[in-house]
Symmetry: C2
Subunit: 319 residues, 2 copies
């Protein structure tokens, strides 16, 4: 059996992990995708966390050694007995037997926190929306879906900030792609549908050749799609930005660049070149149509398919 | 860290696994021993088993692939998140984080059923009391500790017989030592304290040199301690028998043979050379004093200590 291709989606609470995961699973075909949420590796249930005074963001609050072991098993195509954290009750439930599909998406808070875990991913994504936007998303989700008041959510955010700073955000450095959806002109009241995206492309995986965007003059600072050199955490990166107001024509050109290099993506591109492009369901049930999100999903899918081509060349990862 | 030494104790339901496990843990020091029961790898809870019509003895009723994986992790000194089968409720509970101690005892029904699992043990024991004695033990335990009636237990035994025949008993062939406690003269009403033991010693691990028993004339067919050549499942073995009525002097001589080869065992022998020799608590709380049981425990302990000496020579077992 070919080993599965593993995508990591790491980011702070309410950074958009579930929405992005769902969107990518939709593009790859849900029947081909196994989704694992690392919250399941919590060491303590909700009551114990309150008693101890530890947040779920702290490494000590999670069985990271077991997460790492099970990631390796999945990477080697083996089944796991995954622990289960019940978000509804806050309890730890009986574990679940999981055989990996062709693609595995690991989404969670601390997915890149150990070296051996990081070695298991084919593609590593980090979600970094501006903190103001993340707070807005968290309030919306936790009041609508988890029964908290706005005050409770904001107080939680404040309480968790030291752990976010110490344990979550440093993981950005290990990612191949940093994704930041952001409101144009820092207008956080702008609707989700018109968010821009900034994609930081580290030269740690082979990105499509976007240089044409610059050469065509399309990439100048006034264009809705821009490519620029920059540094992220001190290291050189490409930065690809797509505005929420980009036209279908502009977006299709970018798609073609991505798809031309990847015959298997042709179908996805054809499917996307229609008025429903970028339409996905958000975590709280709302319908989102966003070209920046669609292109982000397409780029990640590109890398997962690319990895299937090269996965047979790599050696099996050992314990 | 040195890798743990792994002892397997396999046998049918109520064959004496827990009593033997407790006795050996007592000799090695309970703080040095991690005990794992493979019942925890049940795939279905009690209700599901009844609905499906499958017994816990059937391989399909257990996550043997996960058992094998976790055995390998333990053998390599790594922690596991072990599933938990709750014997009291029949439910599958939240898993349990376990770091292996210096010694690990794996006791259960299907411990030798896959090749990769078998490779993880340093010492493999199989318990094979006569079926009439096992039935007696099972009735006693399940009526006293699990709330069944005698009729229910006997009906269960009958229902499970085909799976015992097909899946449990064939594992005898993989063991290094087959242990059969049996009543003298086939008198199954005899008290446990006077059971004899028959130890089948396969030349698959280096047993102490018992030949002196034969040479000294002590090993003749009338003696309370006998050594004989035989075949088990068609293959040559030594058979060491110790009668329940053996004297303390006879037993001490056998102990000396075992201990002389193993300086670390000296303390155990000294501790055992007293009137409490072989006193252990049975599963149903009764106190048992049995020289045959004490010698059996000592022999197994010998092999576990022997394995600590050679474990550093062996290569790490790989997935």
């Amino acid at each position: 059996m070919d080993r599965p291709i593993i995508l990591g989606i790491v980011g702070d609470s309410a950074a958009g992990k579930t929405t992005l995961t769902k969107g990518i699973a939709q593009v790859l075909g849900p029947e081909n995708v196994t989704v694992i949420c690392t919250d399941d590796y919590h060491r303590y249930d909700r009551k114990q966390r309150a008693e101890i005074g530890i947040t779920a963001l702290h490494p000590d609050c999670n069985y990271l050694d077991i997460m790492q072991q099970q990631l390796l098993q999945l990477r080697n195509g083996l089944p796991i007995l995954k622990p289960v954290y019940n978000h509804a009750t806050g309890n730890l439930d009986a574990p679940q037997y999981i055989k990996p599909n062709k693609f595995v998406i690991i989404e969670g808070l601390l997915g890149y926190s150990t070296r051996k875990a990081r070695q298991c991913y084919d593609v590593k994504v980090y979600l970094a929306p501006p903190e103001s936007l993340r707070a807005k998303w968290k309030v919306k989700r936790d009041t609508q879906k988890r029964g908290y008041t706005e005050e409770q959510v904001l107080s939680q955010l404040q309480k968790r900030e030291p752990d976010s700073e110490q344990f979550i955000r440093p993981q950005r450095q290990w990612s191949d792609i940093v994704i930041s959806f952001y409101p144009p002109n820092d207008d956080s009241e702008q609707s989700n549908g018109h968010l821009n995206v900034r994609l930081i492309l580290r030269p740690t995986i082979p990105h499509p050749d976007f240089i044409e965007i610059v050469n065509s003059g399309n990439g100048n600072s006034m264009s809705a799609i821009r490519l620029d050199l920059d540094r992220d955490m001190g290291k050189p990166v490409d930065v690809l930005e797509v505005d929420g107001h980009a036209t279908l024509e502009q977006v299709n050109r970018l798609e073609q660049i991505i798809c031309s290099d990847m015959p298997h993506l042709k179908n996805v591109c054809d499917r996307q070149s229609n008025p429903d492009l970028g339409k996905v369901a958000g975590t709280t049930g709302e319908s989102i149509q966003s070209y920046p999100l669609a292109l982000t999903q397409l780029l990640i899918t590109y890398h997962m398919l690319k990895a299937t081509q090269t996965s047979q060349e790599g050696l099996q990862v050992k314990v």
